[in-house]
């Protein structure tokens, strides 16, 4: 029987990751088109709308950038942890708790001036995210508890915490019986940079640059990468694995929480349990597509921002925005496959009788 077998190429295909990205993206769009056809929608119409809603003009692009901010930060959060071989699947929960902390600060600081309040909310969001990651970080560092599961469970807990707050202690007294958090004070709104992109863009760029340099250039980052590739080597070199795990996961949580704080002051009018909007999960895909490198996160985040903004726009023609979620996953699958095929080729062979 002739079977396909993966054989390592003598040299990887030239063009590498960008090529894999282009191929993967095309395949994903193609599969998405098939899905839309099966559902009875016109792929051309859907894609045309998605493109014009995300890149059509400067205003559209500013909305895309707006979305790219939390995606880039969430992606960065996942990528930092992954540098050390850790999986922070809890960015979603850290964003939520970061936003919750920021909302709490907004309530306390109703009388503060705008800049002070905004700064406090953003810093508070970041601290909230760090706190939300602290438990899984300590459990992983000191007793080896699988961080994938603990960070994930805290996502579910964060959603319910906000639900509880909105239904009870933080219920809006002026909500006319509506179950909602009180509206944020007006001076807490982050000013816009241009069109509909808010100042959070600058914060995100700065954080990406600083953390990116920390990982790639500092001795701290070097130790991180050593620990990520071999724990034994790191221990031998005198690097404290426990401390590293703890600091990396907490930093990762702080970056995700920062996204929560920025989302609340930048885009929300009040705290809701959907403020994180799946950014934490999309951040995993963003980071994976950027090969866990902070430098690549920004570009992928803009692309995903566009896919998400595009996904919102097709609701107007009666197509579910779940299409954009499916597309994001398909892009990742496409790029994974293309990435493998850059290093391996498929050969149809007859199984040989093994000599060993």
């Amino acid at each position: 029987m002739i079977r396909p077998v993966l054989v390592r190429r003598e040299a990887p295909v030239r063009g590498g990751q960008p090529l894999a990205f282009a191929v993967g993206l095309s395949v994903a769009l193609l599969l998405g088109a098939v899905l839309l056809l099966v559902a009875g929608d016109s792929p051309i119409e859907v894609y045309r709308r998605m493109l014009s809603a995300s890149f059509g003009d400067l205003e559209a692009f500013s909305v895309t950038l707006n979305r790219a901010i939390p995606l880039a930060l969430a992606g960065l959060a996942v990528a930092i942890a992954a540098t050390m071989g850790l999986w922070n699947i809890g960015a979603e929960g850290q964003i939520l708790f970061g936003a919750t902390t920021a909302a709490g600060i907004a309530q306390a600081g109703e009388g503060w001036s705008g800049p002070v309040l905004i700064l406090a909310m953003i810093v508070g969001g970041s601290i909230g995210g760090a706190l939300w990651a602290l438990g899984p970080a300590a459990a992983k560092a000191y007793i080896g508890v699988n961080e994938i599961i603990t960070t994930l469970m805290l996502n579910e807990i964060a959603i319910r915490l906000i639900r509880y707050l909105i239904n009870g202690p933080w219920k809006d007294p002026e909500g006319y019986g509506f179950v909602q958090a009180p509206a944020l004070p007006e001076q807490s709104f982050l000013p816009n940079l241009f069109q509909r992109t808010h100042v959070g863009l600058l914060i995100a760029i700065a954080v990406l640059a600083v953390v990116g340099l920390m990982v790639s250039r500092s001795s701290w980052g070097y130790e991180l990468r050593v620990a990520g590739s071999s724990g034994a080597t790191a221990t031998y070199a005198g690097i404290s694995l426990k401390r590293k795990i703890l600091t990396v996961l907490v930093l990762s949580g702080a970056v995700a929480g920062l996204a929560g704080g920025i989302e609340l002051t930048g885009n929300a009018t009040r705290l809701t349990e959907t403020v994180s909007n799946g950014y934490g999960f999309a951040g995993i895909i963003v980071a994976a597509l950027a090969l866990m490198r902070p430098s690549g996160v920004a570009a992928v985040a803009v692309l995903f921002g566009a896919v998400q903004v595009g996904g919102q726009s097709i609701k107007a023609i009666g197509v579910s925005d779940a299409v954009s979620t499916v597309l994001q996953a398909l892009i990742l699958f496409g790029v994974i496959a293309a990435g493998v095929l850059i290093v391996y080729r498929i050969e149809m062979t007859e199984p040989k009788v093994r000599s060993t």
Binding site: L6, V7, R8, L35, A39, W87, I89, G135, A139, I143, G144, V145, N146, I148, I149, T150, L152, M153, L154, N155, E156, I157, R160, L161, R163, Y164, N167, G168, F281, A282, I284, I285, A288, S320, A322, V323, S324, T325, V326, Q328, A329, L330, L332, F333, I336, A337, G339, V340, T356
Partner: protein, 316 residues
Amino acid sequence: MIFGLTFPETAVIGLLFAAIQFGAMIYLASLGEMIAERAGVLNLGVEGMMAMGAVGGFVFAIETGSPWLGLLAAAVIGAAVAMVHGLFAVALGANQVVSGLALTIFGVGLANFWGTDYEGVRPEVQFADVDWGPLSDISWIGRILFQQSPLAYSAVLLGFVTWFVLNRTRGGLALRAAGESAATADAAGHSVLGLRLFAVAIGGAFAGIGGAYLSLSISPGWTVGVVAGRGWIAVALVIFGAWKVRRVALGAFLFGLAMALPNRTESFDLPWDPILWSMLPYILTIAVMIAGALVLRNRPPAAPAALGLPFRREER
């Protein structure tokens, strides 16, 4: 009254009934994940496979008028979705964590897309509870154990079958070998690729059935977010159960209890908001993981040795 809590009879019966119901649902998904992991494949796509099973099972049940056909469809769909992970993580040897997470996002997204037209459709077709005759009439036990959905009994049966196949057949031995030492299994003449793909497919089918349990029996109908993170609890349960059927079953009942309690806080006169109680299964998962890590600290790991490692013969 014990510790100032009241235990009205009907409430206790209702709680235990629901605990078995939720427990059996999560047990199915966990068994499937356990089979895949015993073959060496970590599949974090359980949440996505359950979502697809839930929507697919409901759609097929409504369209064919038979819950059993819906269940069959859910199993097939679960297996088919799992094969996406099979293609990427097993055949292409991509990172299993990345592929599994992508599968969850993909499955949940696709389920929501598919379910758009079925949201709020009246669940005219669903599983009726089994009537075991005189057994079902026994007070307490009859209501708790012998008036369950056929899916609960299927879960128990599948648990025994899984245990038997894994531990008492040559195929099961080969499957476990693929998860402990793929090179050894390969040298013994087994197709590691085939065994792993099979295990992933079975895992997907079980997860699909677990999803259909939700949409055809526990809370009939389709709504976005019906799986609600339970797929992840199923993954945690495998770790808690130390990759053994019996311990997974025990854990499933415990988590079933934790999932059933939040809806019943009023009948037990429990303090605090029910929303706080709804955090219980997730808090319990974390607590159990921490306790497990503390207890097992100085023992050899129970996980299959080759879990998460792709296998390529050339690179042995």
